[in-house]
Assembly symmetry: C2
């Protein structure tokens, strides 16, 4: 490998065609008839794609190791091996009816970065580390993103190893079954910075015609369990003014939550994703409805303000309709600000490539959000069709994937040199 000056790497691009081919090559592991992927974490299919990934990394001259939670690390030597490696990657597991890009793009674009650097004969100053995090999706084992959370110290390795899927299988057993319980201690490997390329999983970039999202952080999230308690009564014999209809209470509250989120726009969101009438019957006025609510915003104070306004709305609606509306916050995750220097490197990389871009906040959780608690981190988003993700119809263009890989490559070069 030659010693290259930064200027000679400015025009370096990833091989977009090779990346596209690799994405489709690995899509056969768990591929579905509808063009998606069913590759639950630590399943046999996940084992097969991990084997493929290890072989591909080794063929690219990388040194692959596995930690005690199955996370794969592929190291490319740098000129100064005393420096912590610049890391990048994402996850190869999918939802049960997932698409071909969620997570996969970040890992395979990382592989493409390694291959392109090899092709160009470039050796970076800091070593490079490509990571495939175990169980980002959380579909089989909860919580989601558990390996990166353990890396960041949020859980112990033993806590995670003991988690069970619905069949009662533990993470430890699942790792052993596919031969991916590695020897490396979780969280002990030094990382100088972490960059994750991912599809946006939202509609903003596509709607604004932007190619690159320079991700500044992850939203804060508050989750609630709620219920509306009224009185079950006969749909034929109970006059409208005498009813205590729990569904109508929920309806007013859902519309109030929408108004509150809109008033805190543009980033604030509030969603009632689950609502279940107790003992529903065609001719019975609903007496009780249980629901869940998800609120998010990039600012901690907005999350707090929304919660106060939601509670006030619940009180007002409950009193007026003679209902009891209960809202219990079961989880709150503070907003994650990404590292300004890593964000700036992503921004400069996109600018240097002449790509249209916008600053953006990640609405979804990602491994990079967990990593940010421990190492400087940031993310790169590319558009996905109609903002659809966690769906077999998830789609991204070859050009956008290539642009994302280019930005990843240029960001890595900036951080590692």
């Amino acid at each position: 490998m030659s010693d290259v000056s930064p200027s000679s790497t400015h025009n370096l691009r990833a091989d977009g065609s090779r990346l596209w081919a690799t994405i489709h090559e690995t899509a056969r592991f768990g591929g579905t008839p509808k063009g998606g992927i069913n590759r639950l974490t630590l399943s046999a299919e996940d084992g097969r794609v991990r084997d493929w990934f290890r072989d591909a990394c080794e063929a690219a001259g990388l040194t692959v190791s596995v930690d005690a939670l199955g996370t794969q690390y592929a190291l490319r030597a740098g000129k100064d091996m005393s420096l912590p490696p610049i890391a990048f990657g994402s996850h190869l597991d999918t939802q049960p009816t997932g698409g071909k890009f969620d997570g996969v793009l970040g890992v395979l674009a990382g592989l493409e970065v390694m291959r392109s650097l090899n092709d160009a004969g470039i050796e970076t100053r800091a070593p490079l580390l490509l990571v495939n995090w175990t169980n980002e999706e959380g579909s089989r084992f909860a919580p989601a993103m558990m390996a990166s959370a353990a890396y960041a110290g949020e859980f112990t390795t033993d806590e995670i190893l003991a988690k069970r899927d619905v069949a009662g299988t533990t993470v430890a057993e699942a790792l052993d079954t596919i031969g991916y319980r590695g020897g490396e201690a979780v969280g002990e490997r030094a990382i100088g910075a972490f960059v994750e390329l991912h599809i946006e999983q939202g509609p903003i970039l596509e709607a604004e015609g932007k190619t690159i999202g320079v991700v500044e952080g992850g939203q804060g999230i508050a989750w609630f369990d709620g219920s509306v308690e009224g009185f079950e009564s006969h749909a034929g014999t109970t006059p409208m003014p005498r009813r205590r209809d729990a569904l109508l209470g929920l309806s007013e509250f859902a519309l109030a939550a929408e108004r509150i989120a809109l008033a805190h726009g543009p980033s604030a969101v509030a969603t009632i994703g689950e609502a279940t009438i107790q003992a529903p019957s065609r001719n019975v006025v609903p007496g009780r409805v249980a629901f869940t609510m998800d609120t998010r915003d990039p600012r901690s104070e907005t999350l707090t303000a929304m919660e106060e306004e939601l509670r006030a709305a619940a009180r007002e609606i409950g009193e007026r309709r003679r209902l009891s509306i209960v809202l219990e916050r079961i989880w709150r995750k503070e907003p994650v600000p990404f590292d300004p220097k890593v964000v700036a490197a992503v921004d400069a990389a996109a600018e240097g490539l002449g790509l249209s871009r916008r600053r953006i906040i990640s609405g979804a959780g990602h491994d990079a959000c967990n990593l940010a608690a421990k190492v400087p981190a940031a993310m790169i988003f590319v558009p996905c069709k109609d903002g659809v993700s966690h769906n077999e119809s998830e789609s991204s263009t070859e050009g956008d994937c290539a642009a994302g890989a280019d930005v990843l490559l240029q960001t890595i070069l900036r951080l590692a040199n």
Copy 2:
């Protein structure tokens, strides 16, 4: 028996204490720990209460027969046996967690009427007929009120005999199991008029402090199956203005239905009793919600107007929110007007007894509503606590039950003499 003049019967009362004791005596057939009754139609418990009823009727000198659908008829001879009998009764089957009064009161008050007439030595001109209709509730076999519907010619006997419960048992098999497939052809027995005493199953009488509801008819009913179709999307990444949230569409529609029913008040009602989010998830914007709706009013034209307004609301909400709201009417039953002469007899009976009363429309369906298609019919309501029915906590006072039985007795005397 002595030949008595109408004037000598004006002060005749039923024995309220005996009625109350009888209600509690029969409540043991299927009695629940919470004080309710679980006596599904044609179950072993229903068989036992039928046997008890037959024995009690025969002990009162009545001639009991059973038709091909298990309906029990207990005849008391009149002076002029060429007249069709004046009939009264209700049903002894209950919901799985039913109360002690729904249906039971009408049958046992009818028995009390027979016993009181015996005690007073009164022979009516027309014969009297006490009826226990099979399967009013519809909890085990659909449709509800099937025996009275077959009596009125809405179904053939064979159609009803072939209906199956969830275990696959037919009505015919269930009748045979408890020995209640009788020999009498359904609908061939002449009835001069039919009067049904029942708890209101609603809150109006109690709220207004009235003892007797003089029921003028049954509401018209329209049932709908509906759906709201939007677009499922990520709760974290989809900005509020870009959402097509099916639950918010349903929420607006539910509140519109409430406004429409209130505007057509005081009798009009609209209820969404069932609403199910497709593939609900805490962090997914609901893409589809299925729901059912029940609308009722005593006037056919109001039912029609409400449907038009509901459809207009669905269109407007759907267009504004980029949702598809579908409303399919799956059933419509026209309002049932009771016979003015029978209603007037009930009213005069209550007035003669000095009982507080109001004209009322039945919100629920009853056997009398089916009978009304074939014979002059009406109903008598008494209050029930908090309007609660189809519930083990269903409750009515001894005094109100006795008042209902008195009005039934006096109504029967007016119609049969």
